[in-house]
Subunit: 306 residues, 2 copies
Amino acid sequence: MNSIKVFCPASVANVSCGFDVLGFCLDGIGDEMKITKTANKGLIISKITGAELPLDPNKNVATIAASAILKNFNLDYGFDFEIKKNIKPGSGIGSSAASAVGAVYGINKLIGEPFEKKELIKFALEGEKYASKAEHADNIAPALLGGFSLVRCNKTFDIIKLPYPEKLYTTILHPEIELKTSHARSILKKAIPLNDVVRQSGNLAALISALYTKNYDLISKSLKDYIIEPYRSKLIPEFDLLKKTALNSGALGSGISGSGPSIFALSKGKEIAENVGQEMKKIVSKLPIKHNVYVSKINQKGVKII
Amino acid sequence: MNSIKVFCPASVANVSCGFDVLGFCLDGIGDEMKITKTANKGLIISKITGAELPLDPNKNVATIAASAILKNFNLDYGFDFEIKKNIKPGSGIGSSAASAVGAVYGINKLIGEPFEKKELIKFALEGEKYASKAEHADNIAPALLGGFSLVRCNKTFDIIKLPYPEKLYTTILHPEIELKTSHARSILKKAIPLNDVVRQSGNLAALISALYTKNYDLISKSLKDYIIEPYRSKLIPEFDLLKKTALNSGALGSGISGSGPSIFALSKGKEIAENVGQEMKKIVSKLPIKHNVYVSKINQKGVKII
């Protein structure tokens, strides 16, 4: 195989009560990446469309992640990357994770699959680390493995793939405002009141239970965030109204996707998810902010060849 | 029915990563309570054996919990309580919860079962609140319902009964030192570093997943406590050595039971659980401290008529 084209899915991290440990993978929203073997050693990015991102392989998440896997081998050839970004950088739905995951998945395939899918996480994280300055696998894991991912430990890459009920759909509202991950992280409290830790723990544990038992009602009750949302939501215009609108429109829950500014909602069935999107759009349309709305099934498969 | 005799099981709360939200029920270790209808209205405690506890019905957990359920009715008769305490008060394996649960379960049966089992939690909590000054259902819920219980919300009594692998056994070492719940709570940090919250969350979520998937290896990896154990363990003589001994003897995990001083371990199978108990006993036998060791299967049923 000399060339490969992969779909690099967007993902939602945190998922209300699962700060830095939970994430899920989206379907239909993602980048495309073509990787081709070259006669010369080294990595080249020959083309990026859809976003202003560095062509310098030392400054691009995709090639940094690719380098992390390739440094284990002494190859006498190189790779050329063509990237079509459909996920806007800084949108909060795992743009850098998609690039990192697409690159390590594609490279691994092209060099004869020396690594299993799960083993690719640590290489993808090298790229993610460059982009977000923090080492969290809660976008990487779902983008790579699909479905809902639980990151038990960010240090040992201990990832658990969780089940979920079949009719779970997500709605994403991306208001195009700039919100740096590093800033969204800096405004968080450094220490959390023990009472809030207990409330958050109860909901996180209940959400895991609800995913196993496919209990939509319990998913709905558990999608609460006492730790992060009260602070980060202030950075997102009309967050409270948008969330309330999502819930009133039938969503099971709603919150900030990753570090924002995107807002996600989870719903039972496509129809409700689309209704949620339309109602949120009505609100945000009144603001002088460009925006995108996506409705997606949870993507069970993760990154894939196209 | 004029009289009932119930077995009121001991329980382990917190379970390492599940502070104030997780608990499980023990088998074979528990109190016995006989409740008999009386011609006169009101509650009497005619006998308590096994522990020095108040006979005054306004000061005893069992009768306080019984009053909470009975205040919903205007009965023309009363009840007499005979309590055989096998669970030592202050041992950290749910002594007060056992009394509260036994009382509400027994009374509910004697008055024709107007409430479902789950509905009894709020009445039992009235007794627990009197004993521990804090309103937490993480002993009450497993003692009442059996198995592993998750308290999603302490305010709405939203309790989820979790599955667990069949061969799960627990070992309890109770060093007979005095350690008040209120003191054990007062030494805790009021606010938890966000990094520790994330680590604890990952393990709690993983433990829930491991219980559903009956994955002993993951149970073992998840039984970690970064929030409470580092502080409370200092109140328990030789805690670190006892825990290390439990793990070296084959336990999946070990930690403080409730607010201590009891230490619990979870093991795969009775044989390992007994070995863990013997090895811990060797350590504690060198100390000038009276102690008890119990080995128990997880109790699936909870409180029951005997």
